[in-house]
Symmetry: C2
Subunit: 751 residues, 2 copies
């Protein structure tokens, strides 16, 4: 009965797959080449387990395009990240070579590769083996087809592998092994763990436990410690690299390997394996993954006329937005609070602008869980994370941007959040300097920020920290206001103007006047800044609004702005755009400045601080220019190819920016409205929580001939504002945008 | 052959035991009752595993005197601590009651109890079972004698037990369960772990893994999760309490249980069990423990004429000094640096004064390892610990006293320490405020301390923090000086006078003038101080130099002084006693003040800040008064009974104070000399590293009739100084002290 049921479900899975579902439009390869660095293997939404090939030299997502060699397939990865790698734990590699049981490494070359949603397959050259991969949220499944004629049908499991190995101890952003362990359990299972510290976020040690079962028995086994292979059934943790070699019967042409993963224990990894994949065929596990995604992707349906290329871009963007952070509820080794636990925030500096708002709109329960996870992390670890991975806060990029995530959740009415606790967490960031741990959490340079109203040059990232803390202060004021904490609100609303303290009003560059520029502790503006840190005499270099990198290799972490120029950050004041326009010399000067920004190449499409800048024309009463800019940016930088993302996807940041803009909406995180511009698809319907629908519909849709919104109707009534409130969308309805060849006066008013 | 060898060794062990060894004089019960709170179970020197009975209500060491009930026997404990409990993990309890397999708790009453070094035995009333315990460094051994006539011969293993359970979530200083797991492995073994956070030092989660083997097979097993008992062979970690029930054959009258413990994994726990106790009889394990202690205790030999009571006091004091911190080298789950790893510093505030100096003198290699462990913790975790436990820094009591430990190691010439790294670690404490983690590490109130030169009232422990930071600054100056860092030395030598900034020179009390008193931020002295914290109006109470506790229940952590009065701390300036004498009004005023201190009950024998005070007469040229004070204090407060320690032993602090004074020497931590006073034993020989010996010998020894040193000879030559350098002792030789009935001019000069 059970077998029949399994086959039945597997068939259903295949049928659904064949029926042209939304999941068909997800192409995990988009953004995998070039700068995108997205994860290409199978993943459930926010899935803890992310199996993927790992190629040498180790890239952040594990994968590199053919013909790079493959070291094997490990079970935990991140997506779209820059900086040093993280994870890449518990590597398996099948082999069919005669000397297979005498080697600890079995890298091979791929003959071809198939990548689709929840599915990866490749053919290994030397061993002539076919490998297919799919996954459940917490257990991965491999189907390995060995060449029938080979005597050796083997599998290596490496518990000591991880991405980004560096022979230099404590090399910056490199992972370092703490220990590993492997144990052969009977003739169908292997268990163990990998314990690693460091990596991208310079985090504390994390442990990935596994329990792997095979459909065929072992006829020979070996284990290894470093380079020494022996017949022991286990290798106990001695702080080094361990692994196992397994040989299946020579008649075993196909072997299925199921690998449960846990951050608590091997037994929990086994339980995850039992709960999620035991007794299920490869096809059924894959079908269940597709069903999960189908439900989630179905939160937005596009017009039937939407071309496949655009569908692929759109649904893949949703997919990329929803594979991180990862849901590790019940898998936290630090506490057992009943609140949800999410890890791998990579980083909130990247995701607060568009990724988190997209999840809030499409999957509010999920975003509530993520927010509560942030608050639990604050309660237990002392600070909310900016970049958390491997159960450890690490590497603040800019500000303490979790504060904006909280304010955004508040203004969008997310339920089930303790707002007093939220304010407490925000005030911790804003009032307690994270002594000695500025790299990991809280607000570096806080003391100066509070005393001087800005961060003087000398503190790393003085520029963007000042600008972003002022935004974060606005976020605090928003939450304080809702709690009736007027004193706090007033204080932080005042502080939210601190960006002005680095505004060098008379500085001119490329026709624009007024820039965020370095300033020393005494208040003097600096035209040149010293290189590096420390008291010794240091060479200086000229700093201008287009300075991006230091003259020698300088990590972003040490520059005046993180990953940006002053041209970019000087336009990145999302909580006070009217004030910014005034500071720039008024609407006309601002329009001219924005044009210069885009036309003279100051805009950096792959950079989060500029995410909102194309929309600033809205504040000048000219949303039609926003529309034109957005359409051009998307056309020039995004497509449905492997190089279709213009920068590191940063855990879905680039992708969510695209997805919003395709619908004609874009959020300003921490505010309850969306900016309306010309959609890139004929219609998009949000299928909201509770069964309501909200549709954005373009009449006379023809982006080439009718690029502009000439009039609009909301639920049949004229609608002249260029923004729409979150609550209005939640109420359901239709926003009908009539498109035309020339801009009209539509959208002059924002509110 | 193997069996014969085992028996042989066991016999050797027994023989040595019978031969009247130093270990015979260790009585772990001394200090177990009253305030001492010492651990009474078996422990190797610095042993990771410390099995002991656990009684309800849970005390810090696990044990309480009969007739308190026994919940069972857990494997990890601390010794002599105050505050909330820690550890108490992996509880086992034999039972022989008919309903045994249906209950998760099996507490019983003790009929009698035997406690000796490395050995504990008791008889359980209800079950009529005899339990004996001994231990290896990382594995414990139990011998259980069941009553022959009982059908049920059972053992419960509770992986969810820990000391100090509080039903209130996050109750202050209470441990909280994160998760546990249990798995029956074949018919002779059980494995699992307990993961717990919080407790005394409010630490992060730690995990204690175990692997228990039994000499008899299981004929029936059950496991439980919370209150639900079932036939499953395992309970996976779901964040709750789990355990196992085992039944042995009814013919199994004696069962030996061996429990390996690890902080890495169950397999490592099993390996520890194999490496340390597999194939060894109970007697042999015990004999090996005695051999270890014999070697260590033999570093000091007392005069043959020393009465047994004094021998028991002395060797038990050495024993108590050397059971913590615990050596967990190779067991650190956070990093795998090749440096030693010690945990359970409980706390350095308690141990820097006499415990660490005693280890430095008797076992310098050990102290070097401990110092290197502190430096590795700094390098990896960001700060050296004050109180570290469960792999987490937590709860600074006073200052950042690890700095004094480093200076003490330097002036005493310990080799193999990276002094540049040491200075870096010290400067981190002294210059980087531990933002938001002041409770756990670094210097709380640092900003004020640097800006004002003192910590104003309002910051918890403003008084002792100011006083101790100034001592710590002296320690920094010492290390900086040795590295030729004159700028650092000068700055910190200047700061080491900061205690003067809280010295209220005109304040008089009980005939003394000048006290460390609370001062506000503006520099005003406070005669009354507000209760509690926060901006709201708060009741005030009068603060005087004898104020010890707040008027309502106020934890030490929030008072002006931690665990002390101003009378005590105003005399606790060990790095500048001459300056203190001057501040007190000169030698005569000081002598009168010291007399008042001791005679009017201001001295608190159980309190570390007063440890050096009896010796302050040395600085007045009157070491004979020191001798009298010390003899009286010891006579009135120390003995060889279970109530023989006058306060929490604090990981050996009280004990090491006693041991030093019995020999006639007392250290001033951070300085390279010992103060010489009348020994309490006729002679003591230090058997030093490298084979040299240094003997302190009292001629005309008769404490009642000849309480004073009247003259001295060092290696045959007259010696008139009242101190002796560490290096002089290391060179070996004899210090002959001639005792007499009346003080002479001997010892007027210190240096």
């Amino acid at each position: 009965m059970k077998t029949l049921f399994t086959i039945l479900l597997a068939t259903v899975g295949c049928t659904s797959l064949a029926a042209g579902r939304l999941t068909d439009y997800v192409d995990p390869r988009i953004g995998s080449e070039g700068l995108g660095r997205v994860f290409i293997g199978p993943s459930h939404p926010y899935g803890m387990v992310k199996p993927s090939p790992d190629c040498t030299p180790s890239p952040n997502s594990g994968w590199l395009p053919m013909p790079e060699r493959v070291d094997g397939f490990s079970q935990v990865h991140v997506s779209g990240t820059g900086g040093g790698p993280k994870y890449g734990n518990i590597l398996i590699m099948p082999f069919a070579t005669p000397d297979g049981m005498t080697r600890t490494t079995h890298y091979d070359r791929r003959r071809d590769e198939t990548v689709s949603l929840g599915y990866y397959a490749t053919h290994l050259d030397e061993s002539d083996i076919n490998v297919e991969i799919t996954t459940a949220p917490r257990a991965s499944v491999y189907r390995i087809d060995y060449p029938a004629e080979r005597e050796i049908k083997g599998l290596a499991i490496d518990a000591g592998f991880f991405l980004g190995y560096e022979p230099i101890p404590d090399a910056r952003e490199a992972q370092q092994l703490v220990g590993s362990q492997i144990e052969i359990d009977g003739d169908h299972a292997v268990k163990g763990y990998s314990r690693v510290r460091g990596g991208w976020n310079d985090g504390r040690a994390y442990t990935v436990y596994f329990y792997a079962t095979t459909s065929e028995p072992f006829v020979e086994t070996a284990t290894w410690r470093e380079e020494s292979i022996g017949s022991d059934r286990y290798c106990v943790d001695m702080g080094d690299r361990t692994g196992a070699l397994l040989r299946f019967p020579s008649t075993a042409d196909t072997v299925t390997v199921k690998i449960g993963i846990s951050f608590l224990s091997e037994l929990k990894a086994r339980q995850n394996c039992i709960d999620q994949v035991a007794g299920k065929s490869f096809e059924r596990v894959h079908a269940e993954l597709l069903d999960e995604w189908e439900k989630l992707l179905g939160r937005v349906t596009l017009d039937p006329a939407t071309p496949p290329e655009q569908r692929r871009m759109f649904y893949t963007a949703l997919y990329h937005t929803m594979i991180m952070p990862v849901d590790r509820t019940g898998e936290c080794p630090l506490w057992n609070d009943p609140t949800p636990y999410y890890d791998d925030y990579y980083a909130i500096w990247d995701t607060y602008r568009s990724s988190m708002p997209l999840v809030t709109l499409l999957d509010p329960d999920r975003q509530r869980d993520i927010v509560n996870s942030l608050l639990t992390i604050y309660r237990r670890d002392g600070f909310m994370p900016d970049a958390r991975s491997g159960n450890a806060n690490g590497r603040t990029q800019g500000g303490s941007n979790a504060e904006v995530v909280l304010a955004d959740a508040l203004v969008k009415g997310l339920n089930g959040i303790d707002w007093n606790l939220a304010l407490e967490a925000m005030l911790k960031d804003a009032e307690t300097a994270p002594g000695g741990k500025e790299e990991a959490e809280g607000r570096g340079g806080l003391r100066d920020y509070i005393e001087l109203g800005y961060i003087p040059h000398g503190t790393p990232r003085a520029g963007n920290r000042t600008v972003e803390y002022s935004l974060c202060d606005y976020a605090i004021a928003v939450v304080a206001d809702s709690l009736g904490r007027d004193d706090v609100r007033d204080r932080y609303m005042k502080q939210s103007g601190n960006w002005r303290n680095l505004w060098r009003a008379d500085y001119e560059h490329d026709g624009a006047r007024g820039f965020i520029m370095p300033r020393d502790r005494r208040g003097e503006w600096l035209d040149s800044i010293p290189f590096g840190h420390g008291p010794e005499p240091r060479p200086r270099f000229v700093y201008t609004p287009v300075t991006f990198e230091g003259p020698w290799y300088t990590p972003w972490w040490s520059m005046f702005f993180y990953e940006a120029s002053s041209w970019e950050y000087s336009l990145s004041i999302p909580h006070d755009v009217p004030g910014l326009i005034e500071a720039c010399g008024g609407p006309e000067a601002m329009e001219s400045r924005l044009d210069t920004f885009f036309d003279h190449g100051h805009f950096n499409v792959n950079n989060e601080p500029s995410f909102l800048t194309p929309c600033l024309y809205h504040w000048l009463g000219k949303p039609h220019i926003t529309s034109r800019r957005v359409a051009n940016i998307v056309a020039a930088n995004y497509n449905d190819t492997p190089a279709g993302l213009p920068g590191n996807d940063d855990s879905g940041a680039m992708s969510s920016w695209l997805a919003f803009h395709m619908t004609g909406l874009y959020p300003n995180a921490g505010h309850d409205y969306y900016l309306i511009h010309s959609p890139l698809v004929k219609s998009a319907t949000f299928n909201l929580d509770g069964g309501k629908q909200f549709t954005i519909k373009a009449v006379n849709f023809n982006p080439d001939k009718n690029p502009y919104i000439v009039s609009a109707r909301l639920n049949g009534k004229p609608y002249d504002l260029s923004t729409i409130r979150h609550r209005t969308i939640l109420d359901g309805g239709t926003l009908e945008l009539t498109m035309g060849p020339r801009p009209t006066g539509w959208g002059k008013q924002m509110f």
